[in-house]
Symmetry: C2
Subunit: 360 residues, 2 copies
Amino acid sequence: MSKSTITIALDAMGGDHGPAVVLAGAQTALERHPDMRFVLFGQEDAVRPVLDGLPKLRERSTFHHCDVSIRMDDKPSQALRQGRYKSSMWKAIEAVKTGEADVAVSAGNTGALMAMAKFCLRTMANIERPAIAAIWPTLRGESIVLDVGATIGADSQQLIDFSVMGAAMSRALFQIDRPTVGLLNIGVEEVKGQEDIREAGRLMKETPIDGLDYRGFVEGTDLGKGTVDVVVTEGFTGNIALKTAEGTARQIGSYLKAAMTRTWMAKLGYLLAKSAFDRLRDKMDPRKVNGGVFLGLNGVVIKSHGGSDAEGTAAAIDVAYAMAANGLLAKIESDLGRVYANEVSVPLEGEAAGSEEVAP
Amino acid sequence: MSKSTITIALDAMGGDHGPAVVLAGAQTALERHPDMRFVLFGQEDAVRPVLDGLPKLRERSTFHHCDVSIRMDDKPSQALRQGRYKSSMWKAIEAVKTGEADVAVSAGNTGALMAMAKFCLRTMANIERPAIAAIWPTLRGESIVLDVGATIGADSQQLIDFSVMGAAMSRALFQIDRPTVGLLNIGVEEVKGQEDIREAGRLMKETPIDGLDYRGFVEGTDLGKGTVDVVVTEGFTGNIALKTAEGTARQIGSYLKAAMTRTWMAKLGYLLAKSAFDRLRDKMDPRKVNGGVFLGLNGVVIKSHGGSDAEGTAAAIDVAYAMAANGLLAKIESDLGRVYANEVSVPLEGEAAGSEEVAP
């Protein structure tokens, strides 16, 4: 748990609904973690009036005015060109770099946020590419799935890095000592084209990694089952899987609504079972698991869903709080350090010891 | 519609439950299409007793004994080595080649079935790789998604081939004149690594293809919405998406069941709304959309789900019937012919006219 106050750098301008929703979410999160502090970044005329209406939040916040706000449809390169060093998004990330804050949260556009986070914080030693980790509701509880869209494609070493980082996040967020890890694959045998996944699996079997329990390949159906604590895949497939699951949940929600309003009997049944439906809605509520965690950078940045309401924003801030309070960054650094130290003494097949991937 | 009797070649030994379920499914399908005929392949001692108990089916069937049955866990290479020329699976496919049947159906293992279908029927002219097309239930009805796992990876020309074949299937199965087609992609701009998808999109925009309406990129959430009639992707992503959707549907089904049995009020509500729940179950019933269609071969083969019950098997046979009755193969051949004829006159960028891909 937290030893000192956790400070959240918050991009007040991010998201589809702007400061009113972002700050309301911050206030809700603050009620749950009263020791939390905020550094807020945004345009004064938009943020001040909202903040003045939320005295509890105002009391625990420092506000910095920023002229520039990144729009939801700005391209990453455009955002970086126009918003670097001065936008609310940049400033929130920079507060993590300078140590003013422990973690940054933004509901701004993912591409821009990732581009700025990479530019500002840089990737960790040994890590070539960061990943976005999602919290996935399952029949067993919650799993972590990464990468859900930071970059397309991943080689075997990157998949192993994702495994290590995902396991560290599982420990930090869910206090699981030795999380189980699976590589997302398809069930067809003797199939060509995914040598990287097979190679990553082979390496993790041959050289077990401290702090994670590698369980082999998992399939798309295992995501909802929660077969493993951490599911690892490259960003294209991970993004498609995440959005397919979201779409399927919404689709079934629509079917259910249509079915329950079709006849008077069904409507009556619905009323009697309302508390059950409320529980179900709660289970399926995407706001409960809001917060994509950027992993592999020298600082933790949380992406809140652009369309989030206050409750969703609060959930993302909760994740940020947990990540900071449980020392996610230090856990990842120490775990990666062990993996890469190990790699020097046990050279990978076909690779010389002291290869380029091993930091000096 | 069908001009003459449709004959289905059926691998009676495929699937987890064997001939009893496969043949019961065939009988159900026969009741819906009484003009249908079957050629059945399987082990006499297993099939005969079942067939004797289904006199209607027996009357419309020819049975051929096969010594060898492919097991669900046989590897494709193993299946091909041991089952070529003699297994019930092979014989069902071969019946399509010889013209004894119009289409083959098997619930045997996908890898083995695809390996045998490729070996026996060969790919169509211009087609390098076959695809498996799935029928995907959506809020608008049903879409076709391909490839869901025949092969991993696809270049731009293969994605275009999939688009043409998927559109032909949409016309044959759903009588949609000019199906809308989307390429599955992720929403992040300026992302590297999926040049093939971008290139395929660019080509379909620049040179519209007769008989399909290309609508650009779609995302994972569009699958359940039914944004387009045909969603095109390479086999790894398609398989993960399909299984993720199946898993999510099952997950929500479990939540719903748990919620509805938790309190007496909920149970009572459930009883009153039972017909609504039955409708919902019906909507979500994976058996209703059973049948993966192998496209791109010189003959149509339908893969029924290994775990299907009789109703699921019947659904796969319904799909087979529709594909044959509506001349899917001829539609694909003529559409591909037009596309490749077109390509000669409009050479692809960076490719000489009369490149290798253009058949003489």
